[in-house]
Symmetry: C2
Amino acid sequence: MDSILNYDHPFVCSDAVIFSIHSYEPDSYRKLPVPKLCVALYKREETPYKDFWCLPGGFLNIDETPEENIKRNILKKVSIYDCYLEQLYTFSQIDRDPRARTISISYLGLIPEEQSHKLDCNWFDIDFKDNNLQFVNNDLFLTEKNLGFDHADIIRYAVERLRTKITYSDVIFHLLPERFTLTQYQNAYEAITDEKQQTANFRRKIIGSVEITNDIATSKGHRPAKFYKKRNVK
Amino acid sequence: MDSILNYDHPFVCSDAVIFSIHSYEPDSYRKLPVPKLCVALYKREETPYKDFWCLPGGFLNIDETPEENIKRNILKKVSIYDCYLEQLYTFSQIDRDPRARTISISYLGLIPEEQSHKLDCNWFDIDFKDNNLQFVNNDLFLTEKNLGFDHADIIRYAVERLRTKITYSDVIFHLLPERFTLTQYQNAYEAITDEKQQTANFRRKIIGSVEITNDIATSKGHRPAKFYKKRNVK
DNA sequence: TGAATAGTGTCTGTGAGACAATATTAT
DNA sequence: ATAATATTGTCTCACAGACACTATTCA
């Protein structure tokens, strides 16, 4: 037993890909009409990868679980104190960290737009150009090469997981407010898949997962939408 | 940087849930007519969990990847030198190993029946009683409590993953021989899901994933089945 | 009234599920 | 012929996709 206790073993860390949807209303500071899937990044201030943009995360202490660790680190690095989180994949290329041998337990996180705007955190819209991700925050434009470590790989993997998962689960509700219009729902879906849906078909597909409320959206110059909420029955 | 290099950090290990399908032909040493999903276990010879049955796995060295590590350990502990493997989940309860703080990167493995019989390895049929797994190898009967560590949790998780995955992917072919009858295919599917399929419907569902060969099975007293193989086009 | 967005109707094809029937082999 | 397993046919229903249509608000 003691023999295992002092052999040279890898370090463990966590990294989280936290997504939100940013809508950019026409009356917003930007004129982009398309809702975008976006990700929370922070700029590293130490070597290695100083000044590169990274996913929030950090080294796992001996007395904490990876879930506790990632929560601690997303609060510290992107100011998010609460969001949906699920384990994604464990990345373990030998050379993924130049400081030491590390493996990273990655997490997928989701947070609704309204909450995301309240945080001291840099959100980057994700553009899917060919097969390469690009990241945009106002005037800041990043490619995969501007990200530290293997974090572009992790984000790519997280996008795939999210796209798959919205087809058979309810996770998309973690990106929506408590009450939402079906257009908001469809916008979120399209932002994730990067594919337009036909409204009538889309609504038939998802109508069973929501229930209508008595609230009605305010709008200008057109018919206002009804608000829905997640249906909680199985 | 050096500061990270000597802090007390968790150990990393791997564990593999390797499945096969055992058919038990009526002329076999057993009279069970139902094909069974089974899992490769070995009996631990050291503390902790001495004499408990465990998944093959071991501690990750500083210079190997988890994939290399799990391959090394399944060869050492259940004599499997080659099989399909994919990462499953990383288990990390604080107290999962009484020796030290460890996290385990788990893998899902699949191996066809003919290969499984050639190995020096104990295969346990899995019975799904209520919500509790039971494991049977001839006269040996195990419940979840006879397994070491959190390995019953890991097996449970692996079964779920496998059940989900056969509905949208081709992984089931890793449990079948190169050439197989559609009855073999259906048997494997039913062993995994623990649910009977209607043959006509099942065949229509999967017929696009296979192509027929010129070979015909040998059989006694009834119509022989045609052999199929995996269709390799996309 | 018209612009703008919300929301619905209909047709078609595909595929799953239930159930019944036919086909082919060895004895 | 019969037993035993392989293999196919038919009907129904649910749902996805394409596309055209109607509804409601404010200016």
